[in-house]
């Protein structure tokens, strides 16, 4: 006769029990997630609470772990590119670029100049889409239901533009080893030229309606102060570190592609709190638009894929390479090692969100639960890239 355990005896899983080992007397242990409206994916955070205050927080990962690094050992280099679209759906082209750039570095493949410009344009458009998604979702977390609708309105235009060359709306696998799959045709370029002034005209409205709103300011000012030294210890990059005052952007520090020829600024903020990170991302809208405009004007004619570009059965030469790009969330790094065989020997995907999230446990200590949610949103996390 089977004995059904009573609810009291089912006392939490491995991670909750491990967390509860150090629990204080009288505190409440709560699981935020893995299904939760504001954890941006399947993230679980175990918090120990004393009333409304968070005493301790521990993110638990792995709910979206698909072991891309093992897939890279089973697929050839060229076959692995679609995986890069799924690692981070927010800035898929950034991951495309990081992987393809690493392979090109390893094999010494030169990319034609027009392809470089196309890559920059599409990557920056993707960055805009990612920031719009972040902005809408962040305000949804804070209780404002409307900005996400406006953001998605803008995003629809972007997705329609990006659909023309890539064929996808979200999970792009558009870059190839040695260039890009297809050129931007006349229609696409015309639409981009239309989009830029339209997007510029939306930004003042967002500022007046949302960024200067007193309730929003009270929710994010002073919340989640991250010292630059903490960023260094945890390896946080991207808007997280630029919001803490350090102007670290791969496009300037380790420049790649045609970025040295382009004129743009790296927005930083001295505020170090959620407001600083918010301001940095909003300022990056304008910078991305600038970059796209310059690229459209400077783009030469030519091929977009190098002659003799690797086919799917291509074997990478021996050696190792590390290539980093500036993604919407931070420094996307791909480390490859190859022994000359059919598939790559080791592929390591360095996700910016991974390091940004590891800050969370330290930053959220002692804050109110509502602030912890605000901090989580300000880190701009996309869980698939953290779990890979």
């Amino acid at each position: 006769m089977t004995h059904t355990p009573l609810l009291e005896q089912v006392a939490g899983d491995f991670y909750t029990n491990n967390f509860a080992k150090n629990a204080q007397e009288g505190s409440l242990i709560l699981n935020l997630g893995p299904q939760h409206p504001s954890t941006h994916g399947v993230l679980r955070v175990i918090v120990e609470m004393d009333g409304e205050y968070v005493l301790r927080a521990e993110p638990v990962l792995g709910y979206l772990h698909r072991m891309h690094e093992k897939m890279a050992e089973v697929k050839t280099a060229a076959q692995f590119i679609p995986n890069m679209g799924r690692v981070d759906y927010g800035h898929a082209l950034g991951w495309n670029w990081a992987f393809v750039g690493a392979v090109e570095k390893l094999a010494g493949i030169e990319v034609p100049e027009r392809a470089e410009y196309v890559r920059v344009i599409t990557c920056e458009l993707n960055r805009l889409a990612s920031h719009l998604l972040w902005w809408g979702a962040y305000l949804l977390d804070l209780g404002a239901f409307t900005p996400i609708m406006y953001a998605f309105d803008d995003r629809e235009k972007l997705l329609d533009i990006l659909q023309i060359p890539t064929g996808s709306r979200l999970t792009y696998s558009y870059y190839r080893i040695g260039g890009v799959a297809e050129d931007l045709n006349e229609d696409c370029i015309a639409r981009i030229r239309e989009f830029i002034p339209w997007m510029r005209s939306r930004l003042p409205m967002y500022k007046d309606l949302v960024s200067d709103n007193i309730i929003l300011r009270k929710r994010i000012e002073g919340v989640g102060v991250i010292e630059p030294e903490a960023c260094r210890r945890f390896g946080a990059t991207g808007p997280v570190i630029r919001g803490s005052g350090i102007a670290y952007d791969i496009r300037r520090s380790d420049p790649y592609s045609v970025y040295p020829k382009l004129d743009f600024e790296i927005p930083t903020s001295e505020l170090m709190d959620a407001r600083g990170r918010y301001d940095v991302r909003i300022a990056e809208f304008e910078q991305s638009l600038r970059i796209i405009e310059q690229c459209l004007d400077m783009m030469p004619e030519g091929e977009v894929l190098v002659k003799g570009a690797p086919k799917p059965s291509w074997k990478a030469p021996k050696g190792e390479a590390y290539f980093a790009v500036e993604g919407a969330r931070g420094k996307i790094g791909v480390y490859l090692a190859s022994d000359g065989g059919k598939t790559l020997y080791r592929t390591k995907l360095r996700a910016p969100g991974f390091c940004n999230l590891s800050l969370f446990a330290e930053v959220s200590r002692g804050t109110i639960l509502a602030d912890a949610v605000a901090i989580l949103g300000s880190l701009d996390l996309i869980i698939p890239e953290i779990d890979r």
């Binding site: 609810l7 409206p37 949804l140 609708m149 406006y150 929003l216 639960l369």
Partner: protein, 323 residues
């Protein structure tokens, strides 16, 4: 006595019917306004322009299975939504919809309303506690501190108006106002009106003060575990509370049923609708206030201002009397 009783009974029936109707209309209005603010059409399919959508929603809610979580307390769990909805019917009785058109013409109309609206707090607490759910508990705790806190400025601002009118009977207060806006109490008590509206948002748990049901933090707060008609009753009660609060504001500050040309009840309904629309607009425009900031607003701003307002009012009333 029997005449009184009959009057109250008729009033109750009318109230029950209108609360149902109001619920239906408000659901449609809220979703349409939300849609248009968000640049989308809102409900569109069911009926012309989505007019029958609330009916579809109601049918859906009524038709759902009633179940409760395993370790929940059954009595308290099912008492909570009932307790949130039924007392609201009582709150409509002293409201003067037209000249002499009120179910309960007693001296303590305002006191009745304020007293019974306190029962809403109890229902929130029971709902969160009885769910056997940590989110529910947190939501309930928030709801209690919020409601208790915001009742005080509400009371004080209402008191200021009744000082001026000399009575707690809503019919009297309305009679004391005139036909045109410059004769309404909002002219003599603008601060009280502002304090009242903000406290009303806090009392009815409407955004930007909707922390007890903060979706993005607590999944659904105190009504996480409710579905079907349990949730439906909470929902209806929220809208009914909104109407009560706006009606009291209309009666106290905006001249009640006074107005040129059109009959009294029409003006009353128009004014209440305007205030409700304002509340709906606020919900879809502003982000949510953090909990400690919410309490700060109350204790550091609303309460001192309300006290000062009351003192000033009583001073001027006394001055006017002695003159």
């Amino acid at each position: 006595m029997p005449a009184e009783l009959i009057r109250i009974l008729i009033g109750l029936v009318a109230v029950a019917v209108s609360v149902g109707l109001i619920g239906l209309v408000m659901v449609w209005v809220e979703r349409k306004v939300a849609g248009h603010i968000q640049r989308r059409p809102g409900p569109f399919e069911v009926g012309p322009n989505g007019l029958l959508q609330p009916l579809a929603d109601a049918l859906k809610l009524v038709g759902k299975q009633l179940f409760m979580p395993d370790k929940a307390d059954p009595i308290l769990f099912w008492l909570a939504p009932v307790l949130s909805f039924l007392p609201v019917l009582l709150l409509f009785l002293p409201l003067p919809v037209g000249d002499g058109l009120l179910a309960l013409d007693i001296n303590l109309g305002l006191l009745l309303i304020l007293a019974f609206s306190g029962l809403a707090v109890l229902s929130l607490l029971l709902g969160g506690w009885a769910s056997n759910n940590k989110y529910g508990l947190l939501g309930a705790a928030r709801a209690v501190s919020q409601s208790v806190a915001y009742e005080i400025p509400l009371l004080l601002s209402v008191l200021a108006v009744s000082f001026v009118a000399g009575s707690l009977n809503l019919a009297e207060v309305v009679k004391g106002q005139g036909t045109w806006p410059w004769n309404w109490n909002i002219m003599t008590q603008p601060l009280a009106f502002l304090i009242y509206m903000v406290s009303a948002l806090g009392e009815t748990n409407r955004a930007p003060f909707d922390l007890p049901e903060a979706e993005s933090e607590l999944t659904a707060g105190f009504h996480t575990e409710y579905s079907g008609m349990g949730f439906g009753l909470f929902f209806l009660a929220e809208y009914a509370n909104m109407v009560v609060v706006c009606s009291v504001a209309t009666a106290l500050f905006l001249g009640g049923w006074h107005g040129p040309v059109l009959p009294g009840p029409v003006w009353f309904v128009l004014k209440v609708s305007l205030l409700m629309l304002l509340m709906v607009f606020l919900r879809w425009t502003y982000p949510r206030v953090r909990f400690d900031q919410l309490l700060n607003i109350n204790w550091k701003w609303l309460l001192p201002l309300a006290v000062l307002n009351l003192l000033a009012t009583s001073f001027f009333v006394k001055l006017a009397q002695t003159w």
